[in-house]
Amino acid sequence: MTSMFTKTPPGRGDTHEPSTAGPQRSAARRLFALRSTARGRQARAAWVLAAPFLALFLAFMLLPVVWSLLMSLTDTQSADLRTPLNVSFTGFDNYVRLFQDEQFVHALRNTAVFVVVGLPLTLAAGLAAAVALDRGIRRFRAVFRVGFYLPVITSIVAIAVVWKTLLDPQAGLVNTVLGWFGIDGPAWLADTRFALPVMILMAVWRNLGTVMIIMLAGLQSVPHSLMEAAELDGAGAWQRFWRVSFPLLRPALLLTAVTTGIGYLQFFDEPFVMTQGGPLDSTLSATMYAYDQFGNGNYDVASAAGYVIFVLIVALTVLQFRVLRDKD
């Protein structure tokens, strides 16, 4: 986490105290110092600038995060949520109940499949597209770039609606095209064997553009002199990619892997619009499960499920940092 986002030089933020001031300054003197010194003016301006954001952040981010944790440890079934403090603590009961619920375990498994299969596929497809665009072609690069990126900017709901019509067993385009080759297409979204794989492929289709754009930027900043040198030393295209480009792309790959992974662990919109989690829960995701619990008024269980996903996100992110971080 830290190495990715922090840019603060070491010690910044705790070395700005005026060196003459002792540790036991009185509050009045500190206030005076704050008023008069240049640093004091700076600090005051900083807090004025930070205040509106922090007020909104506290109310709509920090408070809900803590509140949600408390909710997940209580029994809200009988509570009136307009007086949210009037609840009884039940420890980890909600979590225990979650993992005893076969439906939730099933939803977690679907989510895991979605991430484990979908994430590598997305990264590979995006990387392949970036390499092809970077090295392979000269003309129409902008057309390809916009075309590949188009699904990323589109509302998932609109995409889900379109794919639903494309995958219609009778009137859909997909089965018609398969029919030209003599293949009798399945009922895709109504078939327990195909519903989840179809959604994974849709996610790959939708997200590879992001990976491609970032990788393309990375590839284009690879010094060409390095490539030239490797070529003179007799490295083939394959070797040049793995030995020269790929190591330089590793940080960009890490970044896309982390952000895409976070998104995939929360997959919701597609099953909500296309299958409602069916058939037979085969596309039910953990987020979808939590949403259903929320809809049924089980706020405590929904919060607990949210925290389970949070823990999974942290775990996946840590794992990705371990695997993909620069070795130095």
Binding site: L49, P52, I153, I159
Partner: protein, 295 residues
């Protein structure tokens, strides 16, 4: 950190010349055009299908096998969409929410971004870590209490409930801070020496220089808000607050809307504004994605 520096390092001129010569000499790999064109077709086919479907008359929609080019193009689907589903007010809601959310993020995130990047104050590090740390929190963790909060504020019946929780987002702070950090400190020092007040420095010197980052953040926020689905779905209580994705999703789930023509027309309406925004600002958008690595 290494990510950002790698991506930000612009290739030198000599490098570019070498590269250009190399590509010209080898003429890329012509055979790659074929699989790439195939892939491109796979990427845009659903959009072409959407466009063609939205203009299809009833007979073409029911046709088996499906027809690709409408036999008698009609705008009936769009008419019905706007009359029966009240897409006009949904469209207005989407625009209002997206513009308000975008404005809020541009203002609040650039303010805090500047403070974190260029000013020194006690607790700076803690504020930064706190804000950035929440980038990993899934929406699901906050939405239950957020819902209770918004309900207690009696905002579930108004668009404000859709706007307020998204006015200030950690991602925006991250983006603005990264960009403002790259501006030279000397500018600010010189202004201070000239007696410019601290807040005036932000307003008169930093903000004008931050335009490219503001453009990127603006586009990303607008698109994100426009496509946001889960929160408006939960909070909007009646049709007068629906945004386009919510209206479209509920329509597609409804029993009387097995008619694809209307759904595809709805998808076109949802997509069109973001397409226009994207094509107009493509450059800034791609640059922003490439430098932050986030969408």
């Amino acid at each position: 950190m290494s990510t950002l520096s790698t991506l930000r390092t612009a290739p030198s001129d000599a490098d570019r010349a070498l590269r250009r010569r190399h590509i010209r000499q080898t003429w890329g790999q012509p055979w790659l055009y074929v699989p790439l064109a195939g892939a491109l077709l796979l990427m845009v086919a659903p959009f072409l299908w959407m466009l063609s479907g939205s203009f299809k008359p009833e007979a073409d929609i029911r046709a088996v096998p499906p027809v690709l080019i409408p036999t008698a193009p009609t705008t009936a689907n769009f008419h019905e969409l706007f009359s029966r589903l009240d897409f006009t007010s949904m469209f207005a809601n989407s625009v209002t929410v997206a513009l308000a959310v975008t404005a809020g993020n541009l203002i609040f995130c650039s303010m805090l971004g500047y403070a974190l990047a260029k000013l020194e104050f006690r607790g700076q590090r803690a504020v930064f870590m706190l804000v950035i740390g929440t980038l990993m929190v899934p929406g699901l963790v906050t939405f239950v209490p957020l819902y209770v909060l918004v309900a207690n504020m009696n905002l579930t019946g108004s668009l404000l409930g859709l706007i307020l929780p998204f006015l200030a987002t950690p991602f925006g702070v991250f983006l603005m801070r990264q960009f403002i950090s790259s501006l030279p400190d000397e500018l600010i020092d010189a202004a201070r020496v000239d007696g410019c007040r601290e807040l005036a420095i932000f307003w008169k010197i930093i903000l004008p220089l931050t335009k490219p980052a503001l453009a990127t953040l603006g586009i990303i926020t607008f698109l994100g808000s426009w496509n946001n689905f889960l929160w408006p779905l939960v909070v909007a209580q009646n049709e007068s607050q629906y945004t386009l994705p919510v209206g479209l999703a509920l329509a597609s789930g409804g029993q009387d809307f097995t008619r694809y023509g209307i759904l595809l027309a709805g998808s076109v309406v949802v997509l069109l504004p973001v397409m226009i925004v994207f094509l107009l600002f493509q450059r800034q958008f791609v640059a922003g994605i490439a430098t932050t690595g986030l969408k």
